[in-house]
């Protein structure tokens, strides 16, 4: 498990080169070709990239990240794909833009020195310029673009932003027709230059400042909308493709983040669960004698099993059993910890004499953490897949799913995330444990299996292949812990209710529970 370099996040476990081939195979000769941008997840959302040689409008409110997106489009082209690019700015001065970009881990200066990236400065002069009436910004802009694009052999163009230049120089009554004509001419001329172009416009409340001229709808062949709003503790950014004429794309709003590395988009991962690669005869044991026996050897490979139970019943410990057993037999694992810090999990393991640190050091055990405020389900899924891709894990534990629900994440999106995770795991033959805190303090009245508040856990039961129930019962003067396997798809299992204790060595499963 040596050499755990950070791999690129790749959706659905396809490598970048495979993805490229895949999307390329979907375009037909003579049709609109896609132009890979190189921005993480963005190409995936665009199913291969931006329409090659066309103008795509980026409509966004202030602070939504459009300047970053435009800059990264140019930067990725120049740095990764040897495609020189032009950045035309009507608003901010190039030096101000560059100052803002220095916070990213991008090595821009050599590219600017080599003229692989050229900034065209059309921002208002700080002083010494007076505008009287309306003026023609179109021809000078095109002249400059054409001149520099030819000079450096540009393949990409970003223009930031159209609203600014339009409002600066246009005062005519017939603005609407005028702008439409200009946009039409613009995309025509840019097409002739063969530049794949992102053109930004300001929007307010999702309405582009240009849309009052009916211009963007009318002229542009593609529109991408960026939006952002404040969540409880973080800014929630989303983007959506509103239109991409002649091209396929992933519809719907997609979360994205702006990190030091740039923009990361998290489109839903299309997972074909029908290609599931699992073998029911291969069993994944917990290393807990009575439980493994009840499961007839363990969980069938590729199964998703819910461990539902009350607080303190030992869900985390049982999950640790599962991962530790895997690590002991040479199977890497991923622990998704949503409640306890990694150190606490390691200490809990230590208390049972399981030293996980060597496995952490070797990379065989990887932790995925997520802040439980404004959880981004898609990002979390990418993190899990990323972890699995780096250590080839065969076992995953999510501790716990219920904490996602209590953390302002809608039950629907939790379910969706679990469906995606389950689909991914099945295609990889990975066995997954989902811990779920069920609400009742004490399990059930005599003769009643479940309390009233376990319904949410049960909502998940349709997507899981097995359910193991942990609970307390009060009998006589004592509280006893009980365990039973409620469901195990496609496999025999014992229906007995078993008593168990947790001691220094972990779970100790005892005899059948005798009822009264």
């Amino acid at each position: 498990m040596a050499g755990h370099t950070k791999k690129e996040i790749v959706p659905g476990n396809l490598k970048t080169s495979e993805l490229r081939r895949f999307w390329k195979s979907r375009t037909r000769e003579g049709g609109v070709q896609k132009h890979e941008t190189g921005i993480a997840g963005f190409d995936e959302m665009l199913e291969g990239g931006l329409p090659r040689g066309r103008v795509t409008l980026v409509s966004a409110g202030t602070g939504c990240g459009k300047t970053v997106l435009l800059n990264e489009f140019i930067y990725r082209g120049a740095s990764m794909l040897a495609e020189p690019g032009l950045f035309l700015t009507f608003e901010e001065r190039p030096e101000d833009i560059l100052r803002n970009l220095r916070n990213f881990l991008w090595d821009l200066d050599p590219l600017i020195e080599d003229r692989k990236i050229v900034f065209l400065d059309a921002a208002p002069l700080k002083e010494g310029e007076v505008t009287l009436g309306s003026a023609d910004w179109f021809e000078p802009m095109l002249a400059r673009i054409e001149y520099v694009a030819r000079d450096i052999g540009a393949k990409r163009l970003a223009v930031d932003n159209l609203g600014a230049i339009f409002l600066r120089y246009s005062t005519n009554e017939d603005d609407e027709r005028c702008l439409r004509d200009l946009l039409f001419k613009l995309s025509d001329r840019i097409k002739r230059l063969g530049l794949t172009t992102l053109l930004s416009t300001e929007s307010v409340d999702h309405v582009s400042s240009l849309s009052r001229y009916n211009a963007d709808e009318f002229v542009s062949e593609g529109i991408i909308e960026l939006s952002s709003h404040f969540g409880e503790g973080a800014e929630i950014r989303k983007m959506a493709v509103r239109k991409l004429r002649g091209c396929s794309f992933r519809s719907g709003r997609v979360r994205f983040d702006i990190t030091a590395g740039g923009i990361e988009v998290f489109p839903k991962i299309p997972i074909d669960a029908s290609v599931g690669d699992t073998d029911f005869d291969v069993r994944k044991a917990f290393g807990v004698a009575g439980l493994d026996a009840a499961l007839h050897g363990g969980i069938p490979e590729g199964h998703i099993v819910l461990i539902a139970g009350n607080t303190g019943t030992g869900k985390t410990t049982l999950g640790l059993h599962f991962l530790h057993q895997g690590l002991r037999t040479g199977e890497a694992g991923v622990w998704v910890t949503l409640e306890e810090p990694v150190k606490v999990v390691l200490k809990t393991a230590q208390a049972h004499d399981w030293d996980l640190q060597p496995h952490v050091d070797s990379g065989a055990l990887r932790f995925v953490t997520a802040p439980l405020i404004d959880v981004a389900p898609d990002r979390l899924l990418y993190r899990i897949i990323d972890a699995v891709n780096t250590n080839d894990a065969k076992r995953i534990v999510v501790d716990s799913v219920s904490s996602l629900e209590s953390a302002s994440m809608g039950k629907e999106s939790v379910r969706e995330l679990m469906v995606q995770l389950a689909g991914f795991a099945k295609t990889q033959g990975i066995t997954v444990i989902l811990n779920y805190l069920s609400g009742d303090a004490f399990g059930a009245e005599k003769g009643q299996l479940l309390g009233s508040q376990t319904t949410n856990a049960m909502r998940l039961s349709s997507i899981v292949d097995g359910v193991v129930l942990l609970r307390y019962v009060e009998r006589g003067q004592a509280v006893r812990k009980l365990l039973n396997v409620l469901k195990l798809r496609g496999s025999e299992h014992d229906r007995d209710i078993l008593t168990f204790e947790i001691d220094g060595s972990g779970f100790v499963v005892g005899e059948r529970f005798s009822g009264d």
């Binding site: 059309a122 007076v130 505008t131 009287l132 003026a135 021809e139 001149y147 230049i165």
Partner: protein, 98 residues
């Protein structure tokens, strides 16, 4: 060697370009007593100059010399306003700034 230079950027053979040119010539002739040089540049012909001067819209009349450089973009028909914007005329009255 004239130290008073104006440069006009236009798109040649367009109504606004032709009007700007005639306004600029008139300004030089009538308000500046032919004391200034006027250089006319067609943005289509000389994109390199457009880029070098960071011209973002036309017509643009640029005072190149004496420094500091000043420019007027748009409608040049109000000669007095144009000359004030170029800081060739003072804010009030018609007297050239010495």
């Amino acid at each position: 060697m004239n130290r008073k230079r104006l440069r006009l950027y236009v798109v040649a053979n367009t109504p606004s370009g032709t009007a700007a040119l005639s306004n600029a010539r008139q300004i030089c002739r009538e308000c500046l007593d032919g004391d200034w040089d006027l250089e006319v540049i067609d943005v289509v012909e000389r994109p390199d100059q457009v880029e070098a001067d960071h011209i973002s819209a036309v017509p643009a009349l640029v005072k190149k010399e004496p420094r500091p450089s000043r420019r007027v973009v748009g409608d040049l028909s109000d000669h007095r306003r144009v000359l004030m914007a170029l800081e060739i005329f003072a804010e009030k009255g018609m007297a050239p700034i010495p």
